[in-house]
Protein backbone atom coordinates (compact mmCIF):
# COMPACT_ATOMS: atom_id res chain seq x y z
CA UNK A 1 0.00 0.00 0.00
CA UNK A 2 1.44 3.36 -0.94
CA UNK A 3 1.75 6.30 1.42
CA UNK A 4 -0.90 8.33 -0.39
CA UNK A 5 -3.46 5.60 0.23
CA UNK A 6 -2.47 5.43 3.90
CA UNK A 7 -3.06 9.16 4.22
CA UNK A 8 -6.43 8.82 2.50
CA UNK A 9 -7.43 6.13 4.99
CA UNK A 10 -6.39 8.37 7.84
CA UNK A 11 -8.27 11.34 6.37
CA UNK A 12 -11.34 9.10 6.11
CA UNK A 13 -11.08 8.27 9.83
CA UNK A 14 -10.64 11.94 10.66
CA UNK A 15 -13.70 12.96 8.67
CA UNK A 16 -11.67 15.09 6.29
CA UNK A 17 -12.84 13.57 2.99
CA UNK A 18 -15.67 14.65 0.72
CA UNK A 19 -18.66 12.34 0.50
CA UNK A 20 -17.54 10.87 -2.84
CA UNK A 21 -14.01 10.23 -1.55
CA UNK A 22 -15.39 8.65 1.62
CA UNK A 23 -17.58 6.33 -0.46
CA UNK A 24 -14.53 5.21 -2.44
CA UNK A 25 -12.65 4.48 0.80
CA UNK A 26 -15.58 2.50 2.21
CA UNK A 27 -15.55 0.35 -0.92
CA UNK A 28 -11.81 -0.17 -0.55
CA UNK A 29 -12.20 -1.20 3.09
CA UNK A 30 -14.86 -3.72 2.15
CA UNK A 31 -12.53 -5.56 -0.22
CA UNK A 32 -9.00 -4.88 1.12
CA UNK A 33 -7.95 -6.51 4.45
CA UNK A 34 -4.68 -4.55 4.52
CA UNK A 35 -6.56 -1.27 4.31
CA UNK A 36 -8.80 -2.42 7.15
CA UNK A 37 -5.75 -3.36 9.19
CA UNK A 38 -4.26 0.15 8.76
CA UNK A 39 -7.49 1.91 9.70
CA UNK A 40 -7.98 -0.41 12.70
CA UNK A 41 -4.50 0.45 14.00
CA UNK A 42 -4.99 4.17 13.49
CA UNK A 43 -8.39 4.11 15.13
CA UNK A 44 -7.18 2.08 18.12
CA UNK A 45 -4.36 4.54 18.71
CA UNK A 46 -6.74 7.45 18.48
CA UNK A 47 -9.20 5.82 20.89
CA UNK A 48 -6.52 5.14 23.48
CA UNK A 49 -5.16 8.68 23.24
CA UNK A 50 -8.56 10.33 23.46
CA UNK A 51 -9.55 8.31 26.51
CA UNK A 52 -6.24 8.74 28.29
CA UNK A 53 -4.96 12.21 27.72
CA UNK A 54 -2.10 12.71 30.19
CA UNK A 55 -3.06 14.84 33.17
CA UNK A 56 -0.66 17.01 35.08
CA UNK A 57 -0.93 19.28 38.07
CA UNK A 58 0.85 22.59 38.45
CA UNK A 59 3.77 21.88 40.77
CA UNK A 60 3.14 25.05 42.79
CA UNK A 61 0.53 26.13 45.32
CA UNK A 62 -2.50 28.04 44.10
CA UNK A 63 -1.37 31.16 45.97
CA UNK A 64 2.17 31.17 44.66
CA UNK A 65 1.11 30.44 41.07
CA UNK A 66 -1.50 33.22 41.18
CA UNK A 67 0.84 35.72 42.86
CA UNK A 68 3.19 35.60 39.87
CA UNK A 69 0.33 36.08 37.41
CA UNK A 70 -1.07 38.96 39.41
CA UNK A 71 2.31 40.66 39.62
CA UNK A 72 2.66 40.46 35.84
CA UNK A 73 -0.86 41.80 35.31
CA UNK A 74 -0.21 44.73 37.63
CA UNK A 75 3.15 45.43 36.03
CA UNK A 76 1.50 45.42 32.59
CA UNK A 77 -1.19 47.80 33.76
CA UNK A 78 1.39 50.17 35.24
CA UNK A 79 3.36 50.14 32.00
CA UNK A 80 0.15 50.66 30.07
CA UNK A 81 -0.71 53.68 32.20
CA UNK A 82 2.73 55.18 31.62
CA UNK A 83 2.45 54.55 27.88
CA UNK A 84 -0.98 56.17 27.82
CA UNK A 85 0.34 59.18 29.68
CA UNK A 86 3.16 59.42 27.14
CA UNK A 87 0.67 59.30 24.30
CA UNK A 88 -1.51 61.95 25.93
CA UNK A 89 1.37 64.48 26.19
CA UNK A 90 1.68 65.24 22.46
CA UNK A 91 -2.06 65.77 22.23
CA UNK A 92 -1.88 68.27 25.09
CA UNK A 93 1.06 70.05 23.45
CA UNK A 94 -0.69 70.08 20.11
CA UNK A 95 -3.74 71.62 21.71
CA UNK A 96 -1.51 74.27 23.29
CA UNK A 97 0.71 74.78 20.26
CA UNK A 98 -2.02 75.46 17.74
CA UNK A 99 -3.39 78.66 19.35
CA UNK A 100 0.10 79.64 20.54
CA UNK A 101 1.38 79.43 16.98
CA UNK A 102 -1.51 81.51 15.70
CA UNK A 103 -0.88 84.07 18.42
CA UNK A 104 2.80 84.20 17.54
CA UNK A 105 1.99 84.88 13.87
CA UNK A 106 -0.37 87.67 14.87
CA UNK A 107 2.25 89.22 17.15
CA UNK A 108 4.83 89.16 14.37
CA UNK A 109 2.41 90.76 11.92
CA UNK A 110 1.45 93.48 14.37
CA UNK A 111 5.10 94.13 15.23
CA UNK A 112 6.03 94.44 11.55
CA UNK A 113 3.10 96.71 10.95
CA UNK A 114 4.04 98.96 13.90
CA UNK A 115 7.66 99.01 12.78
CA UNK A 116 6.57 100.04 9.35
CA UNK A 117 4.47 102.87 10.74
CA UNK A 118 7.10 104.02 13.21
CA UNK A 119 10.51 103.87 11.65
CA UNK A 120 11.34 102.42 8.33
CA UNK A 121 9.99 103.52 5.07
CA UNK A 122 8.93 100.43 3.33
CA UNK A 123 8.41 100.63 -0.32
CA UNK A 124 5.79 98.55 -2.04
CA UNK A 125 6.52 98.17 -5.71
CA UNK A 126 3.56 98.50 -8.03
CA UNK A 127 3.19 97.52 -11.67
CA UNK A 128 4.13 99.73 -14.58
CA UNK A 129 6.80 101.55 -12.62
CA UNK A 130 4.40 103.05 -10.01
CA UNK A 131 5.69 103.44 -6.46
CA UNK A 132 4.15 104.53 -3.17
CA UNK A 133 6.74 105.98 -0.83
CA UNK A 134 6.13 106.57 2.87
CA UNK A 135 8.85 108.87 4.09
CA UNK A 136 9.85 109.66 7.66
CA UNK A 137 7.28 109.66 10.38
CA UNK A 138 7.89 113.39 11.11
CA UNK A 139 6.59 114.40 7.75
CA UNK A 140 3.47 112.25 8.02
CA UNK A 141 3.22 112.17 4.27
CA UNK A 142 2.93 109.72 1.36
CA UNK A 143 4.03 110.28 -2.18
CA UNK A 144 2.82 108.58 -5.36
CA UNK A 145 4.97 108.67 -8.50
CA UNK A 146 4.13 107.26 -11.90
CA UNK A 147 6.76 107.08 -14.62
CA UNK A 148 4.19 106.13 -17.21
CA UNK A 149 2.01 109.11 -16.45
CA UNK A 150 5.04 111.28 -15.73
CA UNK A 151 3.53 112.60 -12.50
CA UNK A 152 4.09 112.66 -8.76
CA UNK A 153 1.42 113.16 -6.08
CA UNK A 154 2.38 113.96 -2.48
CA UNK A 155 -0.19 113.53 0.27
CA UNK A 156 0.59 115.15 3.64
CA UNK A 157 -1.16 113.98 6.78
CA UNK A 158 -1.53 117.10 8.89
CA UNK A 159 -3.17 115.25 11.79
CA UNK A 160 -0.13 113.22 12.73
CA UNK A 161 2.16 114.43 15.47
Amino acid sequence: MNHETELKLQAYLDGELSESEATAIREMLARDPQARSVTDALEATRTILLANEPELKVPETREFYWSKIRRQIELGEEQGAVANAGQAAPAWWLRFLAPAGLLAVLIVLIALSLRAREGASPIWAMDDGHEIETPLEETSSFSFRSEAAAMTVVWVDSHRE
Binding site: Q10, D14, E16, A44, L49, E55, K57, W66, I69, R70
Partner: protein, 200 residues
Protein backbone atom coordinates in the same frame (compact mmCIF):
# COMPACT_ATOMS: atom_id res chain seq x y z
CA UNK B 1 -29.16 45.81 43.77
CA UNK B 2 -26.42 43.46 42.58
CA UNK B 3 -25.71 40.33 44.60
CA UNK B 4 -22.15 39.54 45.58
CA UNK B 5 -20.72 36.72 43.50
CA UNK B 6 -19.99 33.50 45.34
CA UNK B 7 -16.74 32.76 43.54
CA UNK B 8 -16.18 29.07 44.35
CA UNK B 9 -19.67 28.05 43.29
CA UNK B 10 -20.15 30.48 40.39
CA UNK B 11 -20.16 29.17 36.83
CA UNK B 12 -17.31 30.06 34.49
CA UNK B 13 -19.55 32.42 32.54
CA UNK B 14 -20.40 34.47 35.62
CA UNK B 15 -16.73 34.59 36.58
CA UNK B 16 -15.77 35.67 33.05
CA UNK B 17 -18.44 38.40 33.09
CA UNK B 18 -17.15 39.68 36.42
CA UNK B 19 -13.52 39.49 35.24
CA UNK B 20 -14.40 41.47 32.13
CA UNK B 21 -15.60 44.21 34.46
CA UNK B 22 -12.24 44.20 36.23
CA UNK B 23 -12.98 41.79 39.09
CA UNK B 24 -9.59 40.22 39.70
CA UNK B 25 -10.90 37.88 42.38
CA UNK B 26 -13.22 36.32 39.81
CA UNK B 27 -10.28 35.90 37.48
CA UNK B 28 -8.23 34.27 40.21
CA UNK B 29 -10.99 31.72 40.63
CA UNK B 30 -10.85 30.95 36.89
CA UNK B 31 -7.08 30.51 37.15
CA UNK B 32 -7.48 28.16 40.11
CA UNK B 33 -10.04 26.07 38.26
CA UNK B 34 -8.23 25.65 34.98
CA UNK B 35 -4.55 26.12 35.76
CA UNK B 36 -3.79 22.39 35.71
CA UNK B 37 -5.25 21.92 32.23
CA UNK B 38 -3.45 24.96 30.83
CA UNK B 39 -0.17 23.92 32.42
CA UNK B 40 -0.59 20.34 31.18
CA UNK B 41 -1.13 21.56 27.62
CA UNK B 42 1.96 23.73 27.79
CA UNK B 43 3.98 20.85 29.20
CA UNK B 44 2.69 18.41 26.57
CA UNK B 45 3.99 20.72 23.85
CA UNK B 46 7.23 21.96 25.41
CA UNK B 47 8.22 18.86 27.44
CA UNK B 48 9.93 21.12 29.95
CA UNK B 49 8.52 21.98 33.38
CA UNK B 50 10.04 25.45 33.66
CA UNK B 51 8.98 26.54 30.18
CA UNK B 52 5.52 25.10 30.74
CA UNK B 53 5.21 27.05 33.97
CA UNK B 54 6.33 30.33 32.39
CA UNK B 55 4.19 29.95 29.28
CA UNK B 56 1.09 28.91 31.18
CA UNK B 57 1.41 31.96 33.44
CA UNK B 58 2.04 34.20 30.45
CA UNK B 59 -1.13 32.78 28.90
CA UNK B 60 -3.16 33.83 31.95
CA UNK B 61 -1.69 37.34 31.83
CA UNK B 62 -2.57 37.60 28.13
CA UNK B 63 -6.05 36.28 28.82
CA UNK B 64 -6.64 39.03 31.40
CA UNK B 65 -5.42 41.66 28.93
CA UNK B 66 -7.66 40.30 26.15
CA UNK B 67 -10.70 39.37 28.19
CA UNK B 68 -12.86 41.92 26.42
CA UNK B 69 -12.22 40.06 23.15
CA UNK B 70 -13.73 36.87 24.58
CA UNK B 71 -17.28 36.75 23.27
CA UNK B 72 -18.17 33.26 24.48
CA UNK B 73 -18.27 31.51 21.08
CA UNK B 74 -16.27 28.67 22.64
CA UNK B 75 -15.94 27.77 26.29
CA UNK B 76 -13.57 29.84 28.38
CA UNK B 77 -11.20 26.92 28.88
CA UNK B 78 -11.09 26.26 25.12
CA UNK B 79 -10.26 29.93 24.54
CA UNK B 80 -7.55 29.77 27.20
CA UNK B 81 -6.10 26.60 25.70
CA UNK B 82 -5.83 28.28 22.30
CA UNK B 83 -3.87 31.13 23.90
CA UNK B 84 -1.37 28.82 25.57
CA UNK B 85 -1.00 26.74 22.38
CA UNK B 86 -0.20 29.85 20.36
CA UNK B 87 2.39 30.91 22.92
CA UNK B 88 3.99 27.45 22.81
CA UNK B 89 4.04 27.46 19.00
CA UNK B 90 5.68 30.89 19.02
CA UNK B 91 8.26 29.68 21.52
CA UNK B 92 9.01 26.54 19.51
CA UNK B 93 9.46 28.63 16.39
CA UNK B 94 11.74 31.08 18.23
CA UNK B 95 13.86 28.22 19.46
CA UNK B 96 13.80 26.74 15.96
CA UNK B 97 12.65 23.44 17.35
CA UNK B 98 10.34 23.21 14.35
CA UNK B 99 12.40 22.11 11.43
CA UNK B 100 11.41 22.72 7.84
CA UNK B 101 11.59 19.18 6.56
CA UNK B 102 10.39 17.44 3.46
CA UNK B 103 8.09 14.43 3.50
CA UNK B 104 11.07 12.34 2.42
CA UNK B 105 13.03 13.46 5.46
CA UNK B 106 10.08 12.57 7.64
CA UNK B 107 10.12 9.10 6.10
CA UNK B 108 13.76 8.64 6.88
CA UNK B 109 13.88 10.24 10.29
CA UNK B 110 10.80 9.07 12.03
CA UNK B 111 8.38 7.21 9.89
CA UNK B 112 10.56 4.85 7.99
CA UNK B 113 11.07 2.29 10.73
CA UNK B 114 7.42 2.22 11.70
CA UNK B 115 6.36 1.79 8.12
CA UNK B 116 8.41 -1.39 7.89
CA UNK B 117 6.79 -2.82 10.99
CA UNK B 118 3.59 -4.79 10.92
CA UNK B 119 0.60 -2.74 11.94
CA UNK B 120 0.32 -2.87 15.71
CA UNK B 121 -2.98 -2.41 17.45
CA UNK B 122 -2.23 -1.25 20.98
CA UNK B 123 -4.42 -2.66 23.68
CA UNK B 124 -2.64 -1.85 26.92
CA UNK B 125 -5.79 -1.22 28.95
CA UNK B 126 -6.01 -4.95 29.70
CA UNK B 127 -3.17 -4.86 32.19
CA UNK B 128 -2.44 -1.24 32.96
CA UNK B 129 -4.19 0.91 35.44
CA UNK B 130 -5.52 4.13 34.00
CA UNK B 131 -3.11 6.46 35.79
CA UNK B 132 -0.16 4.34 34.82
CA UNK B 133 -1.40 4.16 31.25
CA UNK B 134 -1.61 7.96 31.12
CA UNK B 135 1.91 8.26 32.39
CA UNK B 136 3.11 5.87 29.74
CA UNK B 137 1.25 7.69 27.02
CA UNK B 138 2.88 10.87 28.26
CA UNK B 139 6.32 9.29 28.06
CA UNK B 140 5.55 7.99 24.57
CA UNK B 141 4.48 11.48 23.52
CA UNK B 142 7.81 12.68 24.86
CA UNK B 143 9.61 10.44 22.40
CA UNK B 144 8.01 12.05 19.36
CA UNK B 145 9.62 14.97 17.56
CA UNK B 146 8.14 18.40 18.28
CA UNK B 147 6.53 18.45 14.84
CA UNK B 148 4.86 15.07 15.21
CA UNK B 149 3.78 15.66 18.80
CA UNK B 150 2.29 19.08 18.04
CA UNK B 151 0.31 17.75 15.10
CA UNK B 152 -0.99 14.90 17.24
CA UNK B 153 -1.93 17.12 20.19
CA UNK B 154 -3.69 19.69 18.04
CA UNK B 155 -5.67 17.03 16.25
CA UNK B 156 -6.48 14.49 18.95
CA UNK B 157 -6.73 16.65 22.05
CA UNK B 158 -7.71 20.02 20.61
CA UNK B 159 -9.90 18.59 17.85
CA UNK B 160 -8.55 20.94 15.19
CA UNK B 161 -9.04 20.22 11.50
CA UNK B 162 -6.08 19.64 9.17
CA UNK B 163 -6.48 23.11 7.67
CA UNK B 164 -6.37 24.82 11.06
CA UNK B 165 -3.35 22.79 12.19
CA UNK B 166 -1.51 23.68 8.97
CA UNK B 167 -2.23 27.36 9.56
CA UNK B 168 -0.99 27.26 13.13
CA UNK B 169 2.10 25.22 12.36
CA UNK B 170 2.91 27.18 9.22
CA UNK B 171 3.04 24.17 6.89
CA UNK B 172 0.94 22.53 4.18
CA UNK B 173 -2.06 20.30 4.80
CA UNK B 174 -0.12 17.44 3.19
CA UNK B 175 2.66 17.87 5.74
CA UNK B 176 0.13 17.87 8.57
CA UNK B 177 -1.38 14.62 7.27
CA UNK B 178 2.04 13.03 7.04
CA UNK B 179 3.12 14.18 10.49
CA UNK B 180 -0.11 12.97 11.99
CA UNK B 181 0.20 9.58 10.31
CA UNK B 182 3.74 8.98 11.50
CA UNK B 183 2.95 10.26 14.97
CA UNK B 184 0.08 7.80 15.28
CA UNK B 185 2.08 4.91 13.94
CA UNK B 186 4.95 5.67 16.26
CA UNK B 187 2.61 5.98 19.25
CA UNK B 188 1.07 2.62 18.30
CA UNK B 189 4.47 0.95 18.21
CA UNK B 190 5.60 2.63 21.47
CA UNK B 191 2.47 1.61 23.31
CA UNK B 192 2.62 -1.90 21.90
CA UNK B 193 6.22 -2.13 23.09
CA UNK B 194 5.15 -1.03 26.54
CA UNK B 195 2.56 -3.72 26.58
CA UNK B 196 5.13 -6.36 25.71
CA UNK B 197 7.34 -5.11 28.56
CA UNK B 198 4.39 -5.39 30.86
CA UNK B 199 3.79 -9.00 29.85
CA UNK B 200 7.31 -10.11 30.72
Amino acid sequence: MSRKLDYPSAEDKALVDASQKGDMQAFEELVARHRDKIYARAFSMMRNEEEAMDLSQEAWVKAWQRLKQFQGEASFVTWMTRIVINLCLDQLRKQKRFRAESVEQLDEESGGVERQMPVVVPNPTERLERIELRQRIDRALGQLSHEHRTALILHEFEDLEYKEIAKRMGCSIGTVMSRLFYARRKMASLLAGLKREELR
